[in-house]
Symmetry: C2
Subunit: 312 residues, 2 copies
């Protein structure tokens, strides 16, 4: 199990490469929710999402020889850019497998960091097979997206920063997909702010974490379908163990609620977020009685969205 | 003429009522422009634009008797909300004349601060006549939108904050409409950073400042037509005198250039701005040779935009 010192080490390890992102507030959103809301803006993070924290914490522990053959992963989204950035910062190559359905803007951004992108059919089997071939050819090190303690420790630094900046936090709410951010921040709460209740927001169209949490055993994600494209992945088993122990509840929000939350964030916080980020505000507005008068930290996980296809 | 101490007094007067807005940077936008760009985010200001700075500096100098009959103005946009906020903060009424074509979102926001909105036909004559009637009936004090030294001193605090936060600034670029922000920030530069060159960005579809500046005499705005709806107003004569003395040049940008700049701001800074704000980035990208390697502060004047009608 990850211990406190690993999170502190991760924070020092990645410090100079990432942004300490701001926490924003809005009187209008406080009035609307009846709570004191503190939005941690990982949409302002490098590559536009929290992902480089975990990827860098993993990569910066590799030795010269391990780094020499490059890094690889498969991803359709923010993890691809995070690994590409990590490779750039450590002067090595990145080999990224992306489904041929990945949005052009994300492909270009990944290539923009100097990564070599290989396309495959848009299913997990094709992604894993293509990656295996590349790994065999290049000897590149696989960088896991979420199911690894070093990744979790990196994402935990988001929570650590929140608890350092805010005096007291009644609730911490994060989106959940694979569980890296949620597991990391739940651990950070247990170490740095044990009185904080940690809750996750999950799209009802991709509810594997909700179902797994209720049943106490891991269910894979089955044909997930939600506008929150960052939350389509299946919960990782390492993440699940941490979540079972340190998270109080998983709550579902519909795509309609996500879109309403997203619009409110654009309108009142004046910032650009991707749908996954809006799940947390949607959750608070769905359960106002639970958060009334409370200090609630919400993690806005990213801001990479196709501006031509905003849902409002 | 406004003197340095008036700007310093304005800053102290309004300090507790406004946000000291952040300055954001983007490596991608630096790479794209070849310059070091510093974006002063007045889109995060109260009411979503810089306007409360000037309005509050004016209103907080009124005595109890002057305040007792309320405040009034005519505006289709951000100044309306600024006056409504100033009235709320000073416990008095706001009477706002708005054209019946004003966007519902701006009407509702103004009413949200408790202001009484009166609609009129969408032309200057109707606005002035309706306002005169209201002023006669109520005795409310008129709060000018830009052509007044106290308004200019309030807007100057944007520049003052920039020069306090950044060590050295080669260029300061602001949008220009009525000239309150530009005149204020040009004065602030002359007092707090005299080596800074001040340049204004104006939409080519509303080029009265450009024409006036070139000719050395004031031309009114004639049927202006631009997507930058905050910059449709005519330059004020008090503002013009300051601008002639302290501004180096006025440069035009087309609506297409404004829209491209706006999209880049959403994409890379991950923030919501209105078209007027994007004129400044459009200007830099239009004249890269002038700004190459320079430290350039750009004022993003506001973020009140109809999200359902984004131009990209």
């Amino acid at each position: 199990m990850l211990i406190k010192v690993e999170v502190e080490k991760a924070a020092r390890r990645i410090e100079q490469y990432i942004h300490q992102t701001p926490i924003l507030t809005s009187q209008k959103l406080n009035d609307l929710s009846g709570a004191e809301l503190y939005f941690k803006c990982e949409n302002f993070q490098k590559v536009g999402a929290f992902k480089p924290r975990g990827a860098l914490n993993f990569v910066l522990q590799l030795n010269e020889q391990e780094l020499s053959n490059g890094l690889c992963t498969h991803s359709s989204g923010n993890h691809a850019q995070a690994v590409a950035l990590a490779a750039q910062l450590t002067n090595t190559k990145a080999f990224i497998v992306m489904p041929n359905t990945a949005p052009e803007v994300k492909v270009k951004a990944t290539q923009g960091y100097g990564a070599e992108v290989t396309f495959c059919a848009p299913n997990l089997k094709a992604r894993e097979e293509t990656l295996a071939t590349i790994q065999k050819e290049t000897g590149a090190v696989f960088i896991p997206p979420y199911n690894h303690e070093d990744i979790i420790a990196g994402q935990a630094t988001v929570g650590k920063e929140i608890f350092e900046e805010l005096k007291s936090v009644d609730f911490l709410i994060t989106p959940v997909g694979g569980g890296g951010l949620l597991a990391g921040c739940a651990l950070a709460a247990s170490y740095f702010s044990p009185k904080t209740t940690v809750i996750a927001a999950e799209p009802s169209g991709a509810d594997d974490v909700f179902r797994s949490f209720e049943a106490g055993k891991l269910f894979p994600s089955e044909s997930p379908n939600t506008i929150a494209d960052g939350l389509l992945t299946s919960l990782g088993p390492i993440n699940f163990e941490i979540i079972k122990e340190h998270v109080t509840s998983i709550k579902l929000v519909t795509d309609e609620e996500i879109i309403s939350g997203m619009k409110l964030i654009y309108q009142y916080l004046k910032i650009v977020v991707e749908p996954s980020s809006a799940t947390v505000l949607a959750l608070v507005l769905k359960h106002p009685e639970q958060f009334k008068g409370k200090r609630v930290a919400l993690i806005l996980s990213g801001g990479n969205v196709d501006l031509a296809k905003l849902p409002f």
